[in-house]
């Protein structure tokens, strides 16, 4: 473990799920990112809704030999982190004010679409990041774009750093101590 700063980092289910799959090269990038997160001494940021999502999308995969086997990687990685006190559970705010503002903002940007509903449903990702160290690893580029637009009107969430392990060098960033980087912020100045 190096001497870099260590942060609690949200790993979106898209990354955990892909790490257990065989999609080239995305799955390899995701496994590399999880391994880098561990090796560089960071912790996994977790919250109740994120854990439910992990269970639903990653750990509780449909039956079938391949799926059953593949889900073991994400589960094994999680257990290994938990055994070593490397999971930081976040208490999410009971107050939905910020979430409501984000949904309202999304309704203005994408009137009549499903996006505001999606923003509200997935806002726990932002809440988990804000309750920990404001760092997210996710493959969901569409979601990142949506949160970026919402962040224009809600600067509170703009400081969150969001990295895509398939498009960006998440492994290098993690090994470098997951530093503040303006291009990764949801609200780019």
């Amino acid at each position: 473990m190096n001497e870099q700063p260590h942060y609690a980092i949200v790993v979106d289910t898209s990354v955990a799920r892909s790490a257990s799959e065989t999609q080239n090269p995305t799955s390899i990038h995701c496994r590399e990112a999880l391994e880098a997160l561990d090796q560089s001494g960071h912790t996994l940021a977790m919250s109740d809704p994120l854990w439910e999502e992990w269970n639903r999308s990653v750990l509780d995969r449909p039956a079938g030999f391949w799926d059953k086997y593949a889900s073991r990687y994400a589960m094994g990685w999680y257990v290994s982190m938990q055994q070593r006190h490397r999971v930081r559970w976040a208490d999410l705010p009971v107050n939905n004010a910020l979430r409501n503002r984000a949904v309202a903002s999304a309704s203005t940007i994408w009137p009549g679409s499903h996006v505001p509903e999606e923003i509200g449903k997935d806002f726990f990702l932002i809440e988990t990041a804000m309750a920990t160290d404001g760092r997210v690893i996710s493959l969901n580029d569409r979601q990142r774009r949506q949160f970026r637009q919402v962040a224009q009107g809600i600067p509170d969430i703009g400081a969150i750093l969001w990295i895509d392990p398939d498009r960006e060098d998440a492994t290098g960033w993690l090994h470098a101590g997951a530093p503040e980087r303006s291009d990764l912020r949801l609200l780019v100045h």
């Binding site: 257990s20 799959e21 065989t22 999609q23 080239n24 090269p25 799955s27 390899i28 496994r31 391994e35 593949a70 073991r72 990687y73 094994g76 990685w77 257990v79 290994s80 938990q82 055994q83 070593r84 006190h85």
Partner: protein, 436 residues
């Protein structure tokens, strides 16, 4: 449960060793109700327990084998030099020190190599020091003490509650196998401070990693509180005894074997005055008419014959007795390895002191689950990870579980190895062209 969890630890609380095999430096290892020794092969896990086994076989021997019985049922050496630390190209250690700690007393013995003068007189060893303490009471004996020094040490220690003047006039140094003790006029050792250590060591139940092939019949043995030698030799007779006495452990044994997914019943048949046969239920679960569906233990998978000594030992042991199991997981299906943790946990709650040497990630996870669910107090579990440095000397890293069963920075690599293997496999498949 709470009452069982509150049971105070007796038996061995700590062990310090220096100069023995790969244990070059003073290695201090705490023992709990459940002590887990883990690490890669040949990193010194067995070496930690071997001095205890050497002492056990020395005190178990029906004759006086000298300071240590080197070639016995528990540990085997052919030369005194084999037990002393040595790095490549360097001089072998000349001493090895062993310190045993019990809740209220500690004892230390220092053994020294004595070089052989001729080829026909091989190297030997002698006891250099034997130190005992309990609170303010101390008895330090050295092999080079003058008779006067021995008498003074004995009378100062208020040995065996004997009158001071008797000790001052008649105490003398006596070797009781591996211990230096005080006797009266060289005749017999006084019941002294080392007797509890001797009792602890002789009562140690040893279930070795190699437990032998299943046999059609087993030799009839005595079934007492002590089990000299290795425990697998006693299993058939212990089961036969429980059967005769309709003892509770027999039913618990069946339940445990069913939990392990192996069989539902074990029974012993006296074949002759000297032989006992072990029969097990052919099916995993009891069925109607299943009592007739029993086969020889030699006719079922290895899992039963290999785990049976472990489970029988855990039930046969009394509170405070040490059960040392090497590789309890051998020949067991992964599900059974997890279930085995529960059986170990139940024995520790009964007050048995369990020491396990393992390579099983699943057994460890099973123990963590017991702790996380509150079935086992975290403070009662001691985890020791064994590694070796460049010179080949053992390094021990210790961890304690928290209430969630996590062990922090303990360098256990079991799950890393699983993950690496999974990752290598998934990466390979990911890079391969898709087949129809």
């Amino acid at each position: 449960m709470a009452k069982e969890n509150e049971r105070r630890q007796s038996g061995l609380t700590g062990l310090q060793i220096q100069g023995y095999k790969s244990l070059r430096d003073l290695t201090d290892v705490a023992f709990g109700c459940l002590t887990i020794l883990a690490g890669a092969n040949s990193d010194g896990k067995s070496s930690l327990m071997q001095p205890l086994l050497l002492l056990k076989q020395t005190f178990d021997a029906p004759y006086d084998p000298g300071v240590l019985l080197l070639d016995g049922p528990n540990v085997t050496f052919s030369d005194v030099r084999q037990i002393f630390w040595r790095a490549a190209g360097k001089q072998r250690a000349s001493r090895f020190t062993l310190k045993l700690q019990m809740p209220t007393q500690s004892g230390e013995i220092v053994l020294q190599r004595v070089k052989g003068q001729t080829k026909s007189k091989p190297e030997s060893m002698h006891i250099l020091e034997c130190n005992w303490s309990s609170g303010n009471r101390v008895l330090e004996l050295r092999s080079d003490m003058t008779p006067g020094e021995v008498r003074k040490a004995a009378s100062d220690s208020e040995l065996a509650g004997l009158p001071k003047n008797l000790l001052r006039d008649r105490a003398t140094l006596v070797r009781n196998r591996a211990f230096l003790v005080v006797g009266l006029e060289e005749s017999f050792p006084l019941p002294g401070p080392w007797s509890q250590f001797e009792q602890l060591l002789r009562s140690l139940i040893h279930v070795p990693g190699l437990r032998g092939n299943p046999r059609r019949t087993y030799r009839q043995t005595a079934v007492e509180d002590y089990f000299p030698g290795i425990f697998p030799d006693y299993v058939a007779s212990v089961v036969a005894r429980w059967q005769q006495e309709k003892a509770d452990p027999l039913q618990s044994l069946g339940e445990d074997l069913r939990r392990l997914g192996l069989t539902w019943k074990v029974e012993a048949h006296q074949v002759s005055a000297t032989e006992v046969e072990l029969r097990v239920g052919r099916l995993r679960e009891g069925r109607r008419g299943g009592a007739q569906d029993m086969v020889s233990i030699a006719d079922v998978g290895f899992g039963v014959s290999q785990v049976l000594p472990v489970v029988v030992a855990l039930h046969a042991a009394r509170p405070g007795q040490i059960v040392y199991v090497e590789q309890p997981e051998i020949h067991l299906h992964p599900r059974a390895q997890v279930a085995l943790a529960e059986i170990l946990g139940r024995a520790t709650r009964r007050g048995v002191q369990v020491v396990v040497e393992t390579h099983s990630e699943l057994l460890l996870l099973g123990v963590q689950q017991l702790v996380a669910s509150g079935e086992l107090e975290p403070g009662k579990v001691k985890l020791h990870w064994f590694e070796r440095d460049e010179e080949g000397a053992t390094l021990v890293k210790t961890a304690e579980l928290d209430s969630q069963g996590a062990f922090g920075d303990w360098p256990v690599d079991f799950s890393d190895v699983s993950l690496e293997a999974m990752r290598a496999y998934l990466d390979t498949v990911t890079r391969q062209p898709r087949r129809a």
